[in-house]
């Protein structure tokens, strides 16, 4: 869906659902997922429909993901960092995660 115009940035290794994703410094969790061609980042807690980042500016809450064990983070507002573990979210969040 998207490609990197300049692929010269410093690499940052994160994982998404356990798989390695090559992010770049300056990526947010949401854009790293988009650049990696990941279709959707969560399924809704209402009907389970798949959703992907929509606005990338913090207002739509479609890019909610679990980051380093903490659920429902806005992926478009969280900069990536080395070793970060991202999980796509399925339906309702689990309390305590």
């Amino acid at each position: 869906m998207f490609k990197r115009l300049v692929d010269a940035g410093v690499a940052v290794a994160i994982t998404v659902d356990g798989k390695r994703v090559a992010a770049r410094v300056g990526d947010t969790v949401a854009t790293a997922m988009i650049a990696a061609g990941i279709d959707h980042c969560r399924t809704t807690p209402v009907t389970g429909a798949p959703r992907a980042p929509y606005c990338l500016m913090g207002v739509c809450f479609e890019c909610l993901v679990t980051v380093d064990g903490v659920g429902s983070r806005q992926g478009c507002l969280v900069p990536v960092s080395e070793g970060m573990a991202v999980e796509t979210q399925t339906g309702k969040r689990e309390a305590g995660r």
């Binding site: 869906m1 115009l5 854009t31 279709d39 209402v46 739509c60 809450f61 507002l77």
Partner: protein, 469 residues
């Protein structure tokens, strides 16, 4: 990185939002000697228009254009001014006493401000078409953010749809970056010219005129533009094709990415939660705060500058920020020397001149603002247009009762992507005006915070007694 615990307990001025209005306001106020803090939610300053202005990997300046790079000066001025600029800081509460609730890296603080300038800017108008929740459908603003901040360019079969200046600007930027667009589906009604025409002379004199024409020519030379009156995103688990109605017939176009845009509207959530009076703007089809000539709101000490005060564009936003900042300085440090606001106002007026024409010309069609049937209106709670219309006819007169009945606006986005649609649908069904129908009542937190953050706030003995019995 500034931590929540590093903040002072009070500031002369708290500026919320690091776009052009916020940056200009903070710079001016800090230079005039006000203790100033600017909170911005994003990883870097610039807001949406100058997104990633200090960090963009897009080094070829021609791609984003000169109008983008002027933001660098604003960012540099603010940085040099002595204002404390905190990124990654989410303001989730503001009350009429100007107590500001802010969260930084999971830590919440309450900060007292003598003056507040809300510069939370704009967001894209909801574009509720069938299938707009499918992965593969994204807002044009989102794609532009990814281009500015991460240098991401659409690849694969890409369709843009909608109308308004940002759509054409993004199309040009994508093309300059070497991207390819399969088509632009223009949803703007031709009849808009009738209302816009009277304002053409002002537009011709405004800076938008030559820029706009050039942009249209640049894009039209490379991309097929189709005028459409119906639009649908189709797919099972993700977007597969775009279905559109043009010249009486239905056409289908396979697509991997559909970018939607039909203008921008003020981001009103924080100002409404703070108790600021808002009014309906029929030309811009949105709610905006009621403000005086210095952008002061109905709540003492709280001003709203930038596109949050009504859409006028990035350059105007900076001038508005300066005017609001001058008013803040005059109130708190009357002895400080201030720039000539007459000159600022003149520049602002010039910027605003062409706006009326653009507003009428790009006014989105009723059918794209007021969907029907199974089209989702509230993305968070998956409430459809048909449900909203049916419930309005049941006697549900306004958005607050609608929220109680259907949960629309109750999800994490707090109505940002459905509020205007819900108001307009109720108005249409009840044959009244959006001004009459009104908007969602909003309360803090206007952005989610954790229970632990909320629990960490200071609690007075009377407040504890109100719960512990």
């Amino acid at each position: 990185m500034t931590k929540a615990s590093d903040l002072a307990s009070s500031y002369d001025l708290v500026v919320i939002g690091g776009g052009p209005a916020g940056l200009a306001a903070a710079a001016l106020a800090a230079r005039a000697g006000l203790s100033t803090v600017l909170f911005d939610e994003n990883p870097g300053v610039g807001g949406q228009i100058y997104r990633a202005i200090t960090s963009s990997p897009v080094k070829d300046r021609a791609i984003l254009g000169v109008d983008f790079w002027v933001g660098a000066e604003l960012a540099a001025e603010a940085k040099a001014s002595g204002a404390l600029i905190v990124n990654g800081a989410t303001v989730w509460s503001l009350d009429p006493t100007r107590l500001v609730g802010v969260s930084i890296a999971g830590q919440a603080r309450l900060i007292q401000a003598s003056r507040v300038i809300i510069a939370t800017g704009a967001l894209e108008r909801p574009f509720p078409i069938p299938g707009w929740t499918l992965p593969g459908v994204m807002s044009a603003g989102g794609a532009q953010t990814a281009l500015k901040a991460q240098g991401l360019v659409p690849s694969g079969r890409t369709v843009m749809a909608g109308g308004g200046p940002l759509l054409w600007l993004l199309a040009a930027q994508i093309l300059r970056a070497g991207g390819k667009l399969d088509a632009i589906l223009d949803t703007t009604p031709r009849t808009n010219w009738l209302r816009a025409f009277a304002h053409l002379p002002d537009f011709v004199l405004s800076p938008y005129f030559s820029k706009g024409l050039k942009l249209l020519r640049e894009v039209r030379a490379k991309v097929r533009v189709i005028r459409v009156d119906r639009l649908e995103a189709v797919g099972d688990d993700k977007l597969r094709e775009v279905v559109y109605g043009a010249a009486g017939g239905e056409r289908r176009m396979p697509a991997d990415l559909l970018l939607l845009h039909q203008g921008i509207v003020p981001n009103v959530n924080l100002a409404i939660a703070a108790g600021v009076t808002h009014a309906w703007n029929e030309r811009q089809l949105s709610f905006e705060p009621v403000l005086d000539e210095n952008f002061n709101s109905s709540v003492h000490g709280i001003a709203v500058a930038g596109d949050g005060a009504g859409i006028a564009g990035g350059t105007a936003a900076a001038e508005r920020g300066r005017i609001a900042a001058v008013a803040a300085v005059r109130a708190l440090r009357p002895e400080a020397s201030m720039p000539d606001t007459q000159a600022i106002r003149q520049r602002l007026q010039r910027e605003e001149m062409g706006r009326v024409f653009l507003d009428w010309l790009n006014r989105p069609a009723d059918s794209f603002r007021r969907p029907k049937g199974d089209t989702i209106v509230c993305r968070c709670e998956e409430v459809t247009a048909g449900q909203v219309r049916y419930t309005a006819n049941m006697g549900c007169e306004g958005p607050n009762q609608m929220k109680a009945f259907l949960r629309c606006g109750m999800g994490p986005c707090q109505g940002r992507l459905c509020g205007l649609t819900v108001t307009e649908l109720i108005a249409a069904e009840r044959r009244t005006t959006p001004a009459e129908v009104g908007y969602f009542r909003l309360r803090p937190p206007v952005k989610p915070i954790t229970l632990a953050e909320l629990a960490s706030l200071p609690i007075a003995e009377t407040e504890r007694k109100a719960v512990e019995r």
